[in-house]
């Protein structure tokens, strides 16, 4: 008998080793993809947080800024600071003449530079009349060149920066007037047509409103539904029917929810287009199944003995559930909710359908203001042809991933802390 067994042993152990190797290989493949992904994003996105700035002496001519002399804030805000910047450029490169050449010169500095000067003057009106060194954001084409994202050489026609502009830039570099710095305006600006000025604040706030609406709707409804299904109606026909619809809804493609939002919220109920409120409602419908399923699983994982012990002591069904079962299930419920919220944060397809895909330059003030969401912003920037937006896309992805990693870590820590094998 044992001979027969012994004969097969070598083959069986070999099969065992192969089987195990497949597992290692699969993990390696998954992690390799993941590593490549994150590296590519990090490499591309690191530049998005940095901005090339050019140092210019700007004369704060009172005649332009404060003609009446009264330091009137309205006048200060309205003055033509862009003109002052252009003047500064002309002062630095006085040899430049002719409309075309001057326009090429102005193109080196971002159109948003004037706003930087303005903010400084408004903060400190005492500077009026002086000549101050400002570090102004370079235009995106210059930014890309300095960061090495585009080729500086090659036929002039296929470059965004021509030789003439190149010469000016080199001159500035030689003077130490070109730097690349960490730029927090990526976090404080809303979207813009110019890549160097575009930031994620509007999108982040839009997402925040949408998620808040989503959570406020989905969490109570979801947990309540799960409790009803698991504790009070379990195994009834109703529960079976509902379970089927929930499981189906969890697998319905997100774009279908977008169509639903479009048809019902926007068209039938005539709610504001592009609003985080509608976005949040659509997201809530999408997240509801996730929360219900996770909550049900958490409730189900509590062993029947807990319920039975409570009931045997004279507690009512509701008391048994809310005082004994739910607290034990809460870690699992919270884990599922956090994961559901993280999924909702990353959703973009349904938001495209309800219009949160417009170009919005203001930071939304409330959930009914038109807004975009962070993942949609990423999509819009990715779709753009300008090289500068690729950096922004990757940087925005890093911001989004940072939020998601934080949320997932919380969920994982929660799960680990309370993981039990019953």
């Amino acid at each position: 008998m044992t001979d027969r067994i012994a004969a097969g042993l070598a083959r069986r152990h070999r099969a065992e080793r192969r089987f195990r190797a497949y597992g290692v290989a699969a993990l390696a493949v998954a992690f390799a993809f993941m590593g490549a992904m994150f590296v590519a994003i990090a490499v591309e996105g690191a530049g998005g947080f940095r901005q090339t700035v050019i140092g210019l002496e700007v004369t704060l001519d009172p005649a332009v800024i404060d003609a009446s002399g009264g330091r009137d804030p309205v006048a200060l805000a309205r003055a033509d600071y862009g003109g002052l910047v252009k003047r500064a450029l002309r002062a630095r490169f006085p040899e430049v003449s002719g409309r075309r050449a001057k326009r090429a010169l102005y193109k080196l500095i971002s159109v948003g530079a004037g706003a930087r000067v303005r903010d400084r003057v408004r903060a400190d009106p005492g500077l009026i009349g002086q000549s101050v060194l400002f570090w102004l954001p370079a235009a995106s084409d210059v930014d890309m060149l300095i960061k090495g994202r585009v080729a500086g050489d090659g036929p002039e026609d296929s470059r965004r920066i021509d030789d003439r502009q190149r010469a000016w830039i080199d001159a500035l570099i030689a003077e130490g007037r070109v730097e690349t710095r960490f730029d927090s305006s990526f976090f404080t600006n809303a979207d813009s047509r110019e890549p160097e000025l575009a930031g994620v604040l509007g999108a982040v706030v839009g997402s925040a409103y949408a998620l808040a609406v989503c959570l406020a709707l989905a969490f109570p409804l979801g947990v309540a539904a799960a409790i009803h299904l698991e504790e009070f109606a379990s195994r009834s026909r109703w529960a079976e029917a509902v379970e089927i619809t929930i499981n189906n809804l969890a697998a319905v493609p997100s774009i279908v929810f977008g169509l639903l939002g479009l048809a019902i919220f926007l068209d039938a109920f005539d709610m504001p287009r592009s609003a985080p409120l509608v976005g949040g409602m659509v997201l809530a419908l999408m997240t509801l199944p996730t929360i219900i399923i996770a909550a049900r699983a958490a409730l189900k994982a509590v062993p029947p003995s807990v319920r039975q012990a409570a009931l045997a002591l004279g507690a009512s069904r509701a008391q048994a559930v809310f005082h004994h079962v739910l607290p034990l299930a809460m870690p699992g419920v919270l884990t599922g909710t956090i994961i559901g919220m993280a999924q909702a944060l990353g959703e973009s397809a349904p938001l495209l359908m309800i219009g949160m895909v417009a170009f919005i330059i203001d930071v939304p003030g409330g959930p009914t203001d038109p807004a975009t969401a962070l993942p949609v912003q990423i999509y819009l920037w990715a779709d753009s042809h300008e090289r500068g937006f690729t950096e922004n896309t990757a940087a925005a992805i890093m911001v989004l991933l940072a939020f998601l990693i934080a949320m997932n870590l919380v969920a994982v820590v929660l799960r680990k802390k309370f993981e039990k094998r019953w």
């Binding site: 008998m1 044992t2 027969r4 067994i5 012994a6 004969a7 042993l9 069986r12 152990h13």
Partner: protein, 279 residues
């Protein structure tokens, strides 16, 4: 039909199933011996130097209060403790004189010789037939449908289950009652033709009638297999075993013929346990 199956099974096993009563009385050889066996889970010691001889073709009962190492000891005998994280085993365990922890020992082959039945019946989510056929199949003991059929039928017969399930061998193993499931697990263990069967409180999850049936089964099985049974019930130990070892706080306090342990225990702790004062 059953006779033919049994004969086929005998042939496959190379064993003679019809053992004359007289040979049961002969002096038992030692099947398994442990010397200074120590087991610890992490830094918590569970067994502190166990010296025990398990006689062949007998039923040896391990009794003692909860948590004093009986199951741990049992799991050492088929090296199931290897699967437990952080479990360290020291000392010597021999099967037929050979160290089971020696370098060249294949755990897979060892477990085919030393089978186990668990406290809670654990039939696989397969048919009754496939449950029993699983062991022979993976070890290559059954080539082809007929051999497998023979082994399955003979094992079920031996476990006293064939009559009840012969018409529904394709039904899932989990569709049986608790007592039947446990007998299925016994049949499953027998199917690989082990030499030793370890039983970890096999009746604790069963009602008294099912328990009685299995106790009867144990008695029959001991003619061909060496059986080591952990039990909480002293009455059960008294009924089925010929040798008993009393475990207390990780040590074997006393071991010897069952009758002696229960009627004239030597150690004070043994006396306290069997008379019900402790445990």
């Amino acid at each position: 039909m059953a006779m033919a199956m049994t004969t086929a099974f005998e042939g496959a096993l190379g064993q003679d199933l019809a053992v004359p009563a007289a040979t049961v009385q002969t002096v038992a050889t030692t099947k398994i011996a442990t010397r200074d066996l120590c087991v610890a889970y992490g830094d918590k010691p569970a067994l502190l130097g166990i010296d025990l001889d398990i006689p062949a073709h007998r039923v040896t009962a391990l009794i003692g209060p909860s948590g004093c190492g009986k199951s741990t000891f049992l799991r050492c005998l088929n090296r199931m403790n290897d699967l437990i994280e952080g479990c360290r085993v020291a000392g010597r365990i021999t099967l037929d004189g050979d160290d089971i922890h020696a370098r060249g020992v294949d755990v897979v082959a060892l477990r085919a010789r030393v089978g186990m039945v668990f406290q809670k019946p654990n039939p696989f989510p397969k048919s009754i037939y496939d449950n029993v056929a699983y062991g022979p199949r993976i070890h290559g003991l059954a080539r082809g449908r007929d051999e497998t059929d023979a082994i399955v039928h003979a094992s079920l017969e031996r476990a006293g289950l064939l009559d009840e399930v012969s018409d529904r061998l394709g039904a899932p193993g989990t569709s049986l009652s608790g007592g039947q499931q446990q007998r299925l697990c016994i049949a499953r263990a027998i199917a690989v033709a082990p030499e030793v069967i370890l039983m970890d409180e096999p009746c604790s999850a069963l009602d008294p009638i099912a328990t009685a049936r299995i106790e009867g089964l144990i008695d029959e099985l001991s003619r061909d297999y060496t059986i080591v049974i952990v039990t909480h019930s002293m009455q059960q130990a008294a009924r089925v075993s010929q040798t008993t070892a009393f475990f207390h706080l990780g040590e074997v306090v006393e071991a010897g013929p069952t009758e002696a342990i229960f009627t004239a225990p030597v150690d004070e702790r043994t006396r306290a346990y069997v008379t019900g004062r402790i445990g």
